[in-house]
């Protein structure tokens, strides 16, 4: 599903590579934690998957597509198959829950009837039934992140990328968020989650890929956050 082959990314005006000869494979339906300190290259890894950045060397395949050969024109179609969740939710403050989720479908030209059908389903899936008409500022952080997850998942992407989704949320609420991510993963969606949250990584017992200074220092199935050896 996601295949990095010897990928190096150096940002302009920086000597140290953000990713340094990284090779990793993520299979369909996997749940992968991406851990490591700030600046270790986690976000760069996610941005490369979305083709928001281009690698300096190495090959990236996502959902069977060689990103280096994917024309700019087709990048939006790649992104339709990838959902994204961020630490800061990125909801539209002037739209309610339903409209925020529907927005993701409206802008890719889905028919209205389809939107009316699937948006309530996804809102229920993330556990926000009955709150479809609330505005984002009337919701707690955890609820806002659920809206963001609903928006990321409403188009049934093959891959869900989560960049520290629990970073702004207290530990108790984070458990609920992780349950939603797990539920999404169980539908067959590949989930890649970058995080600092040791408790969550330890409790989930999923594959852990650890980055340090742009290099993969650990790749462990059913791993924990800290060094297990």
């Amino acid at each position: 599903m996601i295949h990095f082959d010897n990928v190096t990314k150096v940002y302009a005006n920086q000597n140290r590579p953000a990713l340094d000869h990284v090779s990793v494979d993520v299979d369909k339906g996997e749940f992968v934690f991406l851990v490591g300190p700030s600046g270790s290259g986690k976000s760069t890894f996610l941005r490369l998957i979305l083709k928001e950045e281009r690698p300096n060397s190495g090959a990236i395949h996502v959902a069977g597509k060689d990103l280096s050969r994917l024309s700019n024109f087709k990048v939006p179609h790649l992104r339709r198959r990838i959902g994204c969740v961020f630490q800061d939710f990125r909801l539209l403050p002037n739209k309610n829950v339903y409209e925020n989720v529907a927005f993701a479908l409206e802008v890719i030209g889905k028919p209205r009837r389809f939107i009316r059908k699937v948006v309530p389903e996804v809102i229920e899936l993330v556990g926000l039934e009955g709150k479809a008409h609330r505005m984002p500022d009337e919701l707690s952080g955890g609820e806002q992140q659920r809206v963001a997850m609903a928006r990321a998942f409403v188009n049934r992407p093959m891959i869900l990328l989560a960049d520290e989704p629990t970073g702004n949320i207290d530990p108790a609420t984070s458990i609920g968020i992780m349950k939603v991510l797990d539920r999404i993963n169980r539908t067959g969606t590949t989930v890649v989650m970058a995080t600092h949250d040791a408790a969550i990584v330890d409790s989930m017992r999923k594959r852990v890929v650890e980055l340090e200074d742009g290099k993969i220092v650990r790749d462990q199935s059913r791993g924990v956050y800290g060094q297990a050896y």
Binding site: L50, N72, F73, P76, H77, L78, R79, R80, R81, I82, G83, C84, R90, L92, F103, A104, E106, V107, I108, G109, R112, R151, A152, N155
Partner: protein, 304 residues
């Protein structure tokens, strides 16, 4: 493609920078109006040139009783003198003169009545006897009429020789200058409009960076992301174009119809078809400029 979605986005964008939108509309309106006036002056000059080109090019006015020209000494032209002039002109046929005819006082008065139909007071104050007799000459080579003028100038009984080129030449030159002036102003305003549209789109893009960020993320196509911004420019341009059209119609009624009535007959009137054509051109140019300005700005400020 969901049209109502795009249009709601466009509406939000236009309302959020209302002042910029108004500035764009005014600039486009005035710019396009100037462009249109320039084009209309050009068309009018063409019509007038055609009208006058068909007319007599040299008039040889003959002495009348009481003509205040020194060449006449206050005496009217005699029969013999007229005959002599006719022979003279006939002799020039083929040597610069294509054809000539005699215009008597009655015909002159009739033409005068027609030309000044809008000024009845003047027509009433003028008698048939006040009108000069004249020979009207069409030259074979319009650019070389000086020799013909010299040939008749100073002949006995000739009070004055005028050529229409001399009379209307400066007028055409002035119209041409006006047209160039209008076009120059139009170009400057079009530049200003393009910059204003660029700024408006930039503000819009900045105001809506959250939305566009999410659109990019969920895989909206470039067209879908950019279209609302381009449409903002187009709609502002169209509204400006409508105002420009109104200005052009008013100009046609107030300026060109008066101009045509004063300097030529109804045949040289700038028609409504010409005005419609000008309006169409200016509208198209206005909208194209808006689209281009929007696109160029979006490429810089809206990374997709």
């Amino acid at each position: 493609m969901r049209a109502n979605f795009i249009f709601s986005e466009v509406w939000i964008g236009l309302r959020r920078n209302l002042t910029m939108t108004v500035a764009v509309i005014i600039t486009v309106a005035v710019g396009m109006a100037m462009l249109g006036v320039g084009l209309m002056i050009n068309a009018q000059v063409g019509l007038l040139k055609g009208y006058w080109g068909d007319k007599v090019e040299i008039s040889v006015f003959l002495c009348n009783k009481g003509t205040a020209m020194p060449a006449c000494n206050g005496k009217a032209i005699t029969q013999t003198q007229t005959k002599a002039l006719e022979t003279h002109l006939e002799g020039l046929r083929g040597k610069g003169v294509r054809e000539w005819f005699f215009e008597d006082q009655a015909t002159a008065y009739q033409n005068f009545q027609e030309a000044y139909a809008s000024n009845q007071a003047l027509v009433k104050a003028t008698q048939v006897e006040d009108m000069p007799q004249s020979f009207r000459i069409k030259v074979s080579d319009p650019d070389n009429y000086q020799s013909v003028i010299q040939a008749v100038q100073g002949q006995p009984g000739v009070s004055q020789v005028t050529d229409h080129k001399q009379l209307i030449g400066p007028f055409f030159q002035m119209l041409d200058k006006l047209a160039y002036y209008a076009l120059a102003v139009a170009i400057i305003l079009v530049l200003a409009a393009a910059l204003l549209i660029g700024n408006t789109v930039r503000l819009s893009a900045f105001n809506r960076r959250r939305e566009t960020g999410i659109m990019r993320l969920v895989g909206a196509s470039n067209l879908y992301i950019q279209l609302p911004f381009v449409m903002e420019g187009v709609i502002a341009g169209l509204i400006g174009g409508v105002f420009a059209a109104v200005i052009l119609i008013v100009t046609k009624v107030l300026l060109f119809e008066e101009l045509g009535r004063f300097f030529a007959g109804p045949t040289a009137q700038l028609g409504w078809d010409a005005v419609a054509q000008t309006i169409t051109y200016t509208m198209i140019i206005g909208v194209v400029i808006c689209v281009l300005a929007s696109f160029v700005t979006l490429r810089r400020y809206l990374r997709v």
